[in-house]
């Protein structure tokens, strides 16, 4: 009896282990790929619809959708790629390049992906998606950071926003508005937004990229100290929203003062324009303020999002066919809508124009993108640098250190971090 019990337990164990082993083998041999991306509900619905349309038209193959929100996407993806279990196709963004530039072997060279249609993109656009000459992704929507403003509030306070203004003019405009209503705040103080504003200041005053091709800061300690001093003044006089009110917020969408119509300006990447404009007040867009005579704006213009292909994919032909369908095919492009911005691919753009799918606000945003410099980043700011500069902004904003002291601290720490990326 006991002997039987032992064998029974052993049988149970082996059975359960065999279940684990066979978990992913269903349909082995069938042509199947995994397609992963991050996004919100609208992007999920659009992409799933495009993939469903592809699957319906190609019943002999199967594209499996794997989607989630932004949080945790990158960690999971990198872990999967490192473990050799990554999806065949995955959404990526140039901001991640600093982490993977030493590992281009993770990506399929798309110029060598047979059957993939790259003719809708210019060589300049494709170069943005390249690491050491290897094309690692198909460019998606045109992007840039643009200002969004509360038009109802601006009209009420008599603030005229004609589209082009420098730092001083922006400051004067806000202060004039505050004279009429002291409770008004000029610019939403979400940390990401303040970070990009400071980055713009540093690039415009130094005339060099934030991080240069040599993986060094393009600005000096003096530039940073001056920028921080100006920001501190702006925090104090209400040009920027106070940091303690936004310390816990990730976006203007969750900023009560912006949503309640007390803040004049916020900002958004063009690719998120559709989500950003849904407020209880009339909003409009305009170009970021820029220093007069600046050689570069520091605004990351161009497509920054892409679809990459796992170098270990066993279904290269299916991947190429799927990407062609969703990126340039009429049915796929229509299903994908503008969920990743206005396509940088001319064929896709023509499909959207033909089907009247580009609204006036989006056209205006595209005009702003065209008017903004193309100071593209060859080296993207890694998370660690972003965190360090955001810490610096907080330390100065909360008056824990002076701008000069904190600029010195940042340069020491930042240079140490950058040295590990060389």
């Amino acid at each position: 009896m006991k002997k039987n019990t032992g064998f029974f337990l052993l049988f149970l164990l082996l059975s359960s282990l065999s279940l684990f082993a066979s978990g992913d083998k269903e349909g082995a041999g069938a042509k199947e790929i995994r397609f992963a991306w991050w996004g919100g509900d609208a992007r999920h619905q659009a992409t799933v619809a495009a993939i469903d349309a592809y699957n319906a038209a190609h019943p002999e193959t199967f594209v499996k959708a794997e989607y989630q929100g932004w949080d945790g996407y990158y960690d999971k993806l990198i872990t999967q790629l490192a473990a050799g279990t990554g999806p065949d196709v995955f959404q990526f963004v140039t901001a991640f390049f600093s982490d993977v530039r030493k590992n281009p072997e993770l990506f399929y060279d798309l110029r060598k992906l047979e059957g993939l249609d790259l003719t809708g993109w210019s060589d300049t656009t494709l170069d943005i998606m390249s690491i050491d000459g290897k094309l690692v992704g198909t460019p998606l929507g045109q992007n840039a950071r643009i200002l969004v403003y509360n038009k109802d509030l601006a009209d009420k306070l008599g603030v005229k926003i004609d589209g082009y203004f420098n730092w001083d003019q922006f400051h004067s405009m806000v202060q004039a508005a505050k004279k009429k209503d002291p409770s008004v705040v000029g610019y939403s103080g979400i940390m990401d937004q303040i970070y990009y504003a400071l980055m713009g200041y540093l690039v415009q005053t130094s005339g060099k990229m934030f991080i240069t091709d040599d993986v060094e800061f393009g600005f000096s300690e003096r530039n940073l100290a001056d920028g921080l001093a100006m920001m501190l003044t702006w925090f104090e006089d209400g040009t920027f929203q106070a940091l303690n009110k936004t310390a816990l917020l990730n976006s203007a969408w969750s900023d009560p003062e912006w949503l309640n119509g007390q803040v004049l300006f916020s900002e958004t990447p063009v690719t998120q324009l559709g989500q950003q404009m849904k407020y209880g007040f009339k909003a409009d867009i305009t170009r970021y303020w820029v220093k007069d005579g600046a050689k570069l704006t520091g605004n990351p213009v161009g497509p920054n999002m892409m679809f990459c292909v796992n170098s270990q994919t066993a279904q290269a032909a299916l991947v190429a066919s799927t990407l062609n369908f969703v990126l340039t095919g009429e049915e796929g492009v229509k299903a994908m809508e503008l969920q990743r911005g206005v396509p940088s691919n001319k064929k896709a753009y023509d499909v959207l124009v033909k089907n009247n799918m580009i609204d006036d606000m989006t056209r205006k945003a595209m005009q702003i993108v065209d008017d903004t410099d193309t100071g593209l980043y060859s080296f993207i700011d890694p998370n660690e640098i972003q965190d360090a500069l955001k810490d610096t902004i907080q330390v100065v904003g909360f008056k824990d250190q002076t701008p000069a002291e904190e600029a010195k601290n940042f340069m020491e720490k930042g240079n140490r971090i950058l040295s590990s990326y060389k």
């Binding site: 006991k2 337990l9 052993l10 990198i78 872990t79 490192a82 993770l106 816990l248 998370n383 909360f398």
Partner: protein
């Protein structure tokens, strides 16, 4: 002899799934993180041996290391005693024989069912935001509440309160301990004229000390490893005022992909826990009482 061996074999077979899990999910990572802690390892590229450099960096170059360690120590030394005192207080109330006591016990235990969940942290954030429920309630009493999470003076306390609020498991264990204290001891003390305070100090506390010791050890270890609350509620801010050690470890491992350095951080935390636990065990000789002990 054969029968005994066969019995052992069946026993091991019963626990084989656990043994496999323990070896692959506990021992293997335990050993590998120790080895990785001496390397520069980015996950995407193979590890490169760098000797003690990660440990040297920790103490000489990483200003966030000492900051997060300090924040964590304050968090632990505030939240653990508060939680234990509160849990004991509620346990003593729920130790009475009153009608519907089972319902009360269940209700008080509810917060702990959620554990350190994301949902609970989001709830906490909504409650304590600048214009959250707490400040709105205070406003009805004409009290201008502070910025609980946005002000560096209050943020860590607010996060700690979330830990204190999840007192249910400690409370249940205290309740079990209280039930085991014989009534005749209290009766004898009452006859001798001891009041409530004396009975608590001279009977309840000494006889409950093994339970207090157990809860203290478990909650201390648990608190040192707290992650979800700080990550979801404040992301470690503002100004790193809630930047708990587990958050520093997470950032280095999964945002900066410095797995070697993160492993070193993990091993340092392990050593800290070892020291703190050892000190607690050493100190227990002075205040721990067992009912069946001759001393």
């Amino acid at each position: 002899m054969n029968k005994i061996k066969r019995k052992e074999y069946v026993g091991y077979l019963y626990i084989l799934p656990w043994i496999i899990g323990f070896l692959t999910l506990t021992i293997a990572p335990f050993v590998s993180t120790f080895l990785f802690s001496f390397t520069d390892y980015s996950v995407l590229s193979g590890p490169k041996f760098t000797g003690l450099s990660n440990y040297v960096t920790m103490f000489t170059l990483d200003d966030l290391f000492l900051k997060s360690l300090k924040v964590t120590l304050v968090y632990v030394f505030f939240s653990v005693p508060c939680k234990l005192v509160f849990a004991l207080f509620v346990a003593m109330i729920l130790n009475r024989d009153i009608k519907g006591i089972g319902v009360y016990r269940t209700v008080y235990y509810l917060p702990s069912i959620f554990g350190g969940s994301v949902a609970l942290s989001v709830l906490w954030r909504m409650l304590f935001m600048g214009d959250g429920l707490i400040n709105r309630m205070l406003a009805t009493l004409s009290i201008n509440g502070p910025d609980w999470l946005g002000d560096t003076h209050y943020s860590l306390i607010t996060i700690s309160l979330l830990q204190v609020w999840q007192f249910g498991s400690s409370m249940v264990i205290f309740l079990v301990g209280l039930k085991q204290i014989p009534d005749y001891l209290y009766e004898a003390a009452m006859i001798d004229g001891a009041g409530k305070a004396k009975r608590f100090l001279h009977i309840t506390l000494p006889l409950l000390s093994p339970i207090i010791f157990f809860n203290l050890i478990m909650q201390t270890i648990n608190s040192f490893q707290t992650f979800t609350a700080a990550y979801v509620v404040t992301s470690g801010g503002p100004m790193h005022s809630t930047y708990l050690y587990a958050l520093l470890l997470y950032d280095n491992a999964f945002r900066y992909f410095k797995m070697g350095y993160a492993s070193a951080l993990a091993w340092f935390l392990f050593m800290v826990l070892l020291v703190v636990t050892s000190l607690l065990f050493k100190s227990s000789g002075f205040w721990l009482h067992y009912m069946d002990s001759e001393n």
